[in-house]
Every structure is written in C-alpha cells, then in structure tokens.
Symmetry: C2
DNA sequence: AAAAATTTTGCAACCGGTTGCAATATTGTC
DNA sequence: GACAATATTGCAACCGGTTGCAAAATTTTT
C-alpha cells in the first residue's frame, strides 16, 4: 500500500541503498543520483518510514515524557513548551500519564518497548528513585523539576527549592510581616520539603516562629482551600507562603469567602508564577520558577545523553526570582 | 544489547516462532511451550520490541493527537482524559502541538512517517479540511470537538454548538435579562460561529436585539478581557454570553476591575464548565460540555475505524446542559 | 490399534529501512 | 595518458519481530 524504498529505487533506476542514502545525512550520494531519487520520490509521494528506520538504527527520536500533575495548569505551560521544543529538534514526546501510579516498573517497561531514545521525568512530586529506575534500565534520563539527592545518580535540571523558600521568607519579612504561616504542597514531594526547609529555616534564623505549618494534600486548588480553612483557625495570621500558585489561589478564595481581605488583612505569596498568577482576580505575588529554561535545558541534556550515555552526572540549577504583584501589603517607606 | 526473540528461543529451546506466538494473542501455542518461553523470558527480562512488531504487523498502537489550544486549561482536562483512556486500551497518543500552524501537510507527513494507526483532531478551532487531510492520506481520523459540515466526510464527535448557543440564550431570557451582549471566541472557529448562530438566532426569535456582538481574538483570558473592555463601552449591558469559560473569566475580571459588580450589575454565562468554573472567585454559571463523553467516544470511534476503515460516516453528538452557579441574578420568583 | 481430525511446531519469507564492504566510477596528479 | 587517490554505487546481511505453510505431534474416532 504505502510507497517504499524499493518503489522509489525502481522508478529512479538506482539501488535501494542509493535511496536510503539520499535520506540519511552524512551519507555519500552524488548530486546526480540524489536528483533522480528526489524526483522519483516526489512523483510517488515517498516518505521514509520512521519505524523501519528505528529498527535499523536503534534510534526512535521518541522521548518519554513522564508527568503526573495533570490537574495543575502549570503543566499546560510545561507541556506546551516540551512539545514545541522537542518538535523543533525533530524529536517527539511519548507522554506517560502517571496519575495515581507510583511504581516505575510499568512505565519503564512501556518505554523500553517503544525503545525511546531518552526519558524526561517532569515532575517534582515523584521520589528520585523513580527516575533512577529508567537509568537502571539503561535509558538516558533527566529529572526535570527534580531534586539533587545524594546517591541517586540521575541528571537533574531544576531549581534550588531551599533557596527559593528562603526568598519567600525574606520577602515576607521585608514587608514587615511577623505572624507568618506556611502552607506547603503535599508533604511527600521533595519540592515541598525543600521549600519548607528553606522557608522555615530562614524564619528561624531571623527569630520568627511561624504561627502555622501545614501541608495541602496535593498541588491543587481544592487542596489549597481545604488547608487554608485550617490555617484560618489560627488567630491573627498575617501572611501565608503557599508552596504553589494553585494552592495559593484556593487559599485566597477560601480567605476571601470568609470576608477576610487580601492583602489588607492577610498577605499571600505563591510559587511558580504560572500564567494565571497575573489574573486580575488574584494578581499574585509569587516566586517565579524559570520553567522555560528548565525545559529547554532538560531537552538539551537528554539529547546530549543520547549521544553520550556515559556523560558525567550533571545538576543544572536555575535561579528563581520574586515577582511582586498585589497580594502583599505595600512596603512601608 | 537488548534481549531479543532469538535469545529467548535459544534459552527455551524452541523456535523463534514459538516465542513470537507466546506474545501474540490468538496464536496457537501449547501450554508446555508457553511455560518454557515465559520462564526463559523472565530470566532474561525479555519484552517484545514494539518497533519490530509494528514493522511486521503494520500497526503501531500510536494515535496521533492533534491540538492547538495549549493555553486553555480545558485542554489539560482533555489531555488528561485522552492519555489515560488511550493508555487503558494499550494505545499511546503521539501529540502534535499545532500552535500557530495552519497547514495540515506537515502534520500529515509526520504522522504518516510514524505510521500512526489513527488520528484524533481534538480542537474546535481548526477548519474541517484540516481533519480531512488525514483522511485523504488514508488514515482513520476522528474530529473531536468538531463541526459536522456537509461535504467534509470526516467522522465527528462533539456537541451541537448551535443548540448550546440557544440554551444560553434561553437561560438569560429566563433570568429576565433584556440588554444582552454576545462575546464569542475567535470568529474563525466553527464552534464560535455555531454558538453565535444558535444564540443570536434564539434572541431574534424572541424579539430581543443584542446590545453588542463581539469576538475575542482567541479562546483565552487576556482576549476575553480585551474584548470585554469594548463591550463595556456599550451603555447598560445587563448580561453577557461568553463563548468560553476562560474568556468569561477574563471578561469578569475586566468588569470587576471597573468596579462593576457580578452578578448584581452584569450577569455572565460561560461555556465548557472547565474545572476552574467552580472556583470561588468566579463561581461561573456556564453551559457544560460533556468533555468526558466526547473523548471516550472519539477514542472508541477511532479504534473502530482502525479495524474497519470503510465504516460509514458517523456523527456523534452529545447534549450539553446549563450549570447554574452564581454569575446570573437569581430567577425572579 | 489404525485412521482421521486437530493442534502445535519450525522453516523461511517478509515488513522497510541501514550500512560495511568490495567493486566501480570519477577526479586529480605528474 | 597512466596511475593514484577519492567518491559513489550496489550487494547482501541485518535490525527484531510476524505469519503462511507444510511437517510433526497429539488427540479423537472407529
């Protein structure tokens, strides 16, 4: 049915190798042959089969993209960037939706069967051993948004969550807040843990005792609301650092629904700077994570690893910055 | 490097066919042989290569999933559902991100090269000929969220946008609104056009002249805000039907920023019922689109088409419903 | 227990490409 | 123009599976 090498070769009056070489860069074909082949290919509407090529070359141009946070709009941005950037390099993502799955085994097998060239684990809510499983299966793997953990020799591209947590603390203190609460994401996520460490550590260093430390069940809106309901039971909370913008929006909605004003009565600072943080209804002051850089860099890294599997371990950490909008009270002059 | 059929065959002391048959359902293998093969496979950690299988069977288990609305959170839900539902059937999506690309040719070639089993075009903002291009390239294709257009013989799963537009109009009239504006999505999208037709048609039938008819540049938040700024220049607008929830949220934010209250001064009704429509800050009354049904059904349909390419043309239309929340004034008793 | 019917098995060709190698053609050198 | 160096070409094996077919093994029938 489909047009194959052989058909083109016959029409062009050359060998199959010649046709193959026309479509393999770096291969040796004379201009004359190439012209003939291209003409024949055009007439027949020929496209080389990537499947067959994959089988022969042992390269598929597929990159497994593992994610589990399909509820969080930040992932839409992540996803848009990944698909576009991979596309631009002639690669394609093979998405694995991990929603409620924690055993890497199944994903590993699946991606191995598709013979993906590499894997990007793009989530901060999985334990590092998850990414490690791919490495053990001999696939190049990069943990994007991951944590650099000793002993887990997997390449990581991300941010220094501890430093970012500290930045949030500094910002709140700078704005003169004293009765401060921490409302993190799921406690099991390394990103949450690190942000908590950095945030609470800096408060402690400054002699400030947090009025509440609490963790939402998920990086989600409702989880944020639910957790905030508890935080609000504490008397006189002045400001809250939320471990994620989405959680922060839920928390703000819960707060406002109680008739408490933001930022007049309670200030908020979020994390991520997702597109929605700019929305008028929230206008969120937040710690910006350089999603763009992380994604491009992780693609770069995985592409390098494909060529150079034994490349020595790399941690690529990008800086965050605080974006001041309207959810903290103004700096006192 | 990788373990192949041959290795397993040798260890199990059987022919390669026997091994292959063990992993092909419906093939004839005795229990004894199967046991031997499975034991050997387990010892070696063997998994059949899907690439090789694809080459031999001409089936890849890959479904091309074409989308272009990576800015709209509704797509995150769509995406989550697609990946999970496909996964469950042993299929995998091969995502094509169409952001600012309108020529189907490139996507067609790409998916043809990957030899996808079928294609789902999951967007309402592409012209039907886009989906048609895949059909012309002899791939089973389903246009999800598409419009049933005469002459474009492509399978469609979606909603009756005209009927839904009418429902929105009925709802506004029921609530006693008279000075009504229409704020649609991009005018080029068939979904927008149909919603407009249904909505404006019903108003006309009821003798109501809309105070404004306007189209946002995109199915997006900022586009909604910008368009609403114009709508607000019209004196005495009482209610707005937005062609999409995200647009509606933008429109509401613009409205409130001007100090105009929702729903006291202006009422809003959206479209889609995306997860965020429930958020406290918006609490949107909206026309619910049965995303879940559309997605499952489109997967079903495309899977059927893979087996039965000549299946006669099908349009699967699901009903919408109005979800009343808090952005319209209460029904007068 | 032999014959017939059925099930299981291995052989070998095939899916659509790539690539090392040796043969051939082309180009450059003197 | 002869010879060497280099570029191009085709052959054939291979990537890792599947599958039609005939032979072999097993089960059923008489």
């Amino acid at each position: 049915m489909a047009v194959t090498l052989k058909d083109v070769a016959k029409l062009a009056g050359v060998s199959r190798s010649a046709v193959s070489r026309t479509y393999t860069d770096g291969a040796s074909v004379s201009d004359k042959t190439r012209k003939k082949v291209e003409k024949a290919a055009r007439e027949l509407g020929y496209r080389p089969s990537l499947i067959a090529r994959s089988l022969a070359t042992n390269r598929t141009k597929l990159i497994g993209l593992i994610a589990n946070n399909f509820q969080n709009p930040i992932f839409l941005e992540v996803f848009d960037l990944y698909t576009r950037a991979l596309q631009k390099r002639g690669l394609r993502p093979l998405i694995v939706n991990l929603t409620d799955e924690t055993d890497p085994e199944h994903s590993v097998q699946m991606l191995r069967q598709y013979n993906v060239d590499g894997v990007i684990v793009a989530t901060s809510t999985l334990r590092p051993y998850f990414a490690k499983a791919f490495k053990d299966a001999n696939m190049p793997v990069v943990h994007a948004f991951g944590r650099a953990e000793v002993g887990t020799d997997v390449h990581v591209v991300g941010i220094d969550n501890q430093a970012c947590g500290k930045m949030a603390a500094e910002t709140l203190l700078l704005h003169g807040y004293e009765r401060i609460a921490f409302l993190g994401g799921p406690e099991s996520a390394t990103s949450t843990q690190d942000r908590a460490t950095g945030f609470l550590g800096h408060l402690r260093d400054q002699g400030v005792v947090p009025v509440d430390v609490r963790y939402a069940d998920a990086y989600g809106y409702q989880a944020g609301r639910d957790a905030m309901r508890e935080v609000l039971k504490v008397e006189g909370v002045e400001a809250v650092f939320c471990g994620d913008d989405l959680i922060c929006m839920g928390a703000m909605d819960e707060t406002r629904q109680k008739g408490i004003r933001v930022p007049d009565d309670i200030g908020f600072i979020g994390f991520n700077d997702m597109a929605m943080a700019q929305w008028q209804a929230y206008n969120l002051t937040t710690v910006r994570q350089p999603t763009h850089d992380i994604i491009l860099s992780s693609i770069d890294l995985v592409a390098t690893l494909v060529e150079e599997p034994e490349k020595s371990l790399e941690l690529r950490i990008f800086p965050c910055e605080v974006v001041e909008r309207g959810t903290l009270r103004p700096l006192s002059q």
